[in-house]
């Protein structure tokens, strides 16, 4: 359990729902490692987009 906290749980859930159009039930039905993979991929994507926009 120590990898997460209730505050972090809701913060991540809110960010995925508010900014990336996931639904609560979609995220809650994932396995925790899947959610972590999606969050990592999303972070990489946002970083690349930011770099692309800064260059352009």
């Amino acid at each position: 359990m120590s990898h997460n906290s209730l505050v972090n749980y809701y913060t991540t859930l809110f960010a995925l729902i508010q900014h990336h159009k996931y639904s609560i039930s979609e995220v809650e039905d994932l396995m925790p490692y899947e959610r972590d993979i999606y969050v990592d991929l999303l972070m990489s994507y946002l970083k690349e987009e930011k770099e692309r926009l800064e260059k352009g």
């Binding site: 359990m1 120590s2 997460n4 209730l6 749980y9 809650e28 039905d29 396995m31 925790p32 490692y33």
Partner: protein, 236 residues
């Protein structure tokens, strides 16, 4: 129509029964149950949440989580967590000699059970013809520990709850069928040697085992043995 299982299935071993049953990983929704219990900080809430999640994830219809021994529950949860979140956990430990923080990555797949051969300590002979058979403390027994103020009352409760049966030359008497007062009186008459054997049974209960070794900045070699869920998730 019955619901279809759309999650990967894997086998989990019940150490005390030496058999494997099918489980699915827990979901983010079930992780919330665990985190909510963790937030409360109460051991009883955490055990209840672990039981609830294990029950949800088990794919065997006749599985009864309350029948598990406490060490079964801890071991199975650790393995379930490894399949659901990550099999690597990061822990840190502050050395009490140099006050430095040491970090370790533990592979939960490498955690094993020890003392599983303690089956032989279950049978305790009182005389040449009379004896008793112990059973591992189940989740239910630990759940129902009354709130005694005196530690010896807790030990009495545990000893009584973990006696499976008493036998003599003619019969086997299940403790379920023996009135509490009669059992109390019988236990009060036991000699010290028998109580030593009962204590040995509890000392040799199966448990999880993982060893961390490091050398601190002053050159002292340290060994940390991890045996419980608290050790794995609260260390540091």
């Amino acid at each position: 129509m019955l619901p279809k299982i759309d999650k990967p299935i894997f086998e989990l071993k019940i150490p005390s029964m030496d058999k494997s049953i099918n489980f699915r990983p827990f979901t983010v929704k079930e992780e919330k149950i665990l985190l909510t219990a963790q937030q409360s900080g109460e051991d009883k809430d955490i055990i209840l949440a672990i039981k609830q999640v294990i029950n949800n994830c088990c794919q065997e219809p006749n599985f009864e989580v309350n029948d598990l021994a406490t060490f079964d529950l801890e071991f199975m949860f650790l393995k379930l967590r490894a399949k659901s979140v990550n099999n690597i956990i990061d822990v840190s430990y502050r050395d009490n000699e140099d006050d430095e923080l040491y970090s370790f990555a533990i592979n939960l797949d490498d955690v094993e059970m020890i003392n599983l051969d303690s089956e032989s300590t279950k049978l305790i002979s009182v005389t040449e013809t009379v004896g008793l058979k112990m059973k591992y403390p189940s989740v239910t027994i630990i759940d129902n520990i009354p709130s005694y103020e005196d530690a010896t009352d807790v030990i009495d409760y545990l000893v009584k709850s973990c006696i499976d049966c008493i036998y003599d030359e003619e019969s086997v008497y299940s403790t379920k069928d023996i009135p509490a007062e009669e059992l109390d009186a019988w236990l009060d008459n036991l000699d010290i040697d028998t109580f030593t054997k009962i204590r040995e049974f509890f000392d040799k209960l199966p448990q999880m085992y993982y060893k961390l070794t490091y050398t601190n900045s002053k050159g002292t070699e340290r060994v940390i043995e991890l045996n419980s869920l608290n050790d794995f998730f609260m260390l540091g």
